[in-house]
Symmetry: C2
Subunit: 226 residues, 2 copies
């Protein structure tokens, strides 16, 4: 755990770009940078929430323990604030965050963060915008998850990694089949079957965790039609 130099940080959030030199100096004293390996828990559902997390580098899953299984509610990469909803106005974390790839995060003191909202309107506005876009994404995701059937949900997840995370037709899936099932709201077995079906139909190339999109058009159609 080392103290980070916020003033010189070149991976600031949009909101933090509106902080003054004085505010950044203050942040520097109330903020710690920590590294996580894949699989390591950043914060845990049920634990006391005390810091806002800022992902500087890496990939993280947010997950909730549901009545029947673990559910991945969101996968998010840097740069991004994490856990604002579960820290502001909540004593206990309502969900967990776990690193999927080597990840560096800043732990920001909640009072410092609150004071920025109180005293810096541009910072506050950017945080509001970020929260709003989160909610819109969550709505859409919820509609997708509940209305599409498995093929559509798996296709959507593949496109998500390709478009939103790796910007590449080819990527290494950062999840086990079990986790992929928790993301697509289905069973491990159904994920295996569906991925292999896509493989047989030459929609994707599949070599354990390596996925390459071969027929993007068709994948998009499957994702949209559900």
């Amino acid at each position: 755990m080392k103290i980070n130099k916020c003033l010189d940080c070149n991976i600031k959030s949009v909101a933090a770009q509106y902080l003054s030199e004085d505010e950044l100096t203050h942040l520097q004293n109330q903020c710690a940078s920590v590294d996580f390996k894949p699989g390591e828990v950043i914060f845990k559902q049920g634990a006391l929430s005390s810091n806002i997390i800022y992902i500087k580098r890496g990939l993280v899953k947010l997950h909730i323990q549901g009545p029947h299984r673990e559910q991945i509610i969101k996968i998010t990469k840097s740069p991004k604030y994490l856990g604002i909803p579960t820290t502001i106005h909540e004593k206990i974390n309502q969900y967990s965050a776990t690193a999927l790839e080597p990840t560096s995060v800043c732990f920001i003191d909640i009072e410092t963060f609150k004071n920025f909202i109180y005293n810096n309107g541009k910072f506050a506005y950017e945080i509001v915008v970020d929260l709003c876009q989160n909610e819109l994404k969550t709505f859409k995701q919820c509609v997708n998850r509940t209305q599409k059937q498995i093929k559509g949900r798996v296709a959507e997840a593949i496109l998500f990694f390709s478009n939103d995370i790796y910007n590449n037709d080819e990527f290494i899936l950062p999840l086990t089949r079990e986790e992929f099932a928790n993301l697509t709201d289905t069973s491990r077995e159904s994920v295996c079957k569906t991925l292999n079906e896509f493989h047989v139909d030459k929609i994707i190339e599949l070599d354990s965790k390596k996925i390459k999109i071969l027929n993007r058009k068709l994948l998009e159609t499957i994702s949209e039609k559900g």
Copy 2:
């Protein structure tokens, strides 16, 4: 459409309670109060978004047109801001809002609202808190919807109306069976069957739209176990 007197308004939002007299005077000139009957659309998915909505009185459903059916993503009663996510930083409404009961709302000019966030830290903070709590609720709801089976989801919806909307064991369901299905992510027929099952099992009393909870404990168990 009449101009509302914000200064004298006794159903201000928590955030608006932090507005100064000057700010309220300004709001008064940039804000219009409108009444809606049940079934009337307040704003529509796909239309240009231009105002923040504040529900002064009534009950509203937020709904999205999904790939296969209409989905009710949220039911919310006064006092509450609506459509912040779909108005801030978005040009087009990402979802619709429709009145379920006689409803009065204020249309607040987006620039006025933005300026309050920029210039009034306490107002901004309350908006952030509200958005955070929305996101947490949406997460939980999404987990419930995707993991529970029909009985659990219907039980949950009945408890929602009883606990969160009407604060009463007995209430008139403000939805058709079709809408109830759109809320619980199932078909109209399955809703009918499940409600009648609960009725036969003496968990609820059911007379078309009138519902009375007879066995709350059991209903809660069904809701939790899914």
